[in-house]
Subunit: 221 residues, 2 copies
Amino acid sequence: MRSMERKRSDCIADALEGLIFDGTFADGDRLDEVQLAARFSVSRTPIREALLRLAQSGLVTQIPRRGVFVRQPGPVELIEMFEVMAELEAVSARLAATRISDKALTDLHTANDRCRLAVEAQDTDGYYRENEQFHAILYRQSGNGFLEQECLRLQRRLQPFRRLQLRVRGRMKQSMLEHEAVVAAIEAGDGERAADSVRRHVSVQGEKFHHLLTSLRPAAE
Amino acid sequence: MRSMERKRSDCIADALEGLIFDGTFADGDRLDEVQLAARFSVSRTPIREALLRLAQSGLVTQIPRRGVFVRQPGPVELIEMFEVMAELEAVSARLAATRISDKALTDLHTANDRCRLAVEAQDTDGYYRENEQFHAILYRQSGNGFLEQECLRLQRRLQPFRRLQLRVRGRMKQSMLEHEAVVAAIEAGDGERAADSVRRHVSVQGEKFHHLLTSLRPAAE
DNA sequence: TCAAGGCCTTTTGTATACAAGAATGACAAT
DNA sequence: ATTGTCATTCTTGTATACAAAAGGCCTTGA
């Protein structure tokens, strides 16, 4: 197995991602290299490499000779991202419907059962985790490794927002029902129906989130 | 407008991309930092930043404490990438069919006309350029800026391979016919038909490329 | 008082210096 | 002869030093 050790800059990048996600750094904040260097007790070099990675994944924008700034997607961009996520996942499901293995199908059922348990226990974090697992199986069973990676990438980017919308009352239960529809379609080997189910499932997330946004900021521009 | 100046490391990243695409650096080659620094007459720092960017976009893999190595996608991964490209473009077309503006529709016709001229002139490079323009209009008219960016990103990654498959005899003419079908569907506002046309159009590219690959290496593993 | 220009500070971008890990080669022991 | 171990060396990862550019602030002139 090849070296699993990660560079300091990678750890820092992950840490910064977390700090952005949990709101420590808000949208528009400038990330000062020397401050961060002090905070992590390293020199500017690994900080810069970490920031470069974040810039590539779109979490920050890098304005030459000015600095890097946190860049949270606005409402419009978020809706766009959810739309793309929905389509990517729909493709995954369509492909998975015909390519899925028997074992993976049972895994899918298992994941869904765990989701149900989490719903009954009102365990939002648990539901979030098992839900991710459910979707990850679909990505994997698309039989397209590249598609799988792209799905995971976007899912990761949308993570904090997906999490938020789960807080909407009754959302978890509804989400479960949508899962059932997806599983049924996959089990029937009906690619188009699976795609539609998943697309709707993810689109709803985007809509819920949008609703949440507008209700939180009634007088925003 | 915000600063258009690019850092040296960005230029180097672009240059390295070119060197990888044109085969100067073959698959598996190690990219030595000091050699590259000498070649570009800079220090290791901007080289490292450039390599980091390439690693993020997947052109090279970075093995900690070992170095970075050129990583061209193998046949399997290429097919996977073309499949995803086809689906992304299909989504673009489906959305564009209902969202496209009148002006963009005429632009689409114009781009297609230019493609036709290039075909008649047997101008492969010209066709490639105008074809790109044609597709770019579709991305843009999806009305989803994020989707547009993702399409452009993947298109860029597949660029050298798309170019290759155009060399197949009669491919340009067939490609033109497929374009016509796409335009017709878009004009009719039929999203599903547009999506199917585009999906087929791009899938064919992948298949042609695959055929080209296997014919070039008849005894490969 | 306000505006314009220049200096100074602050911060990024690049170069170099240093440290630590990995590969390679030699040498010894079985 | 082969294998294992140690040391040397080469390369990457990190720290620091230096340069250049952007922004702020003060001064000065109208």
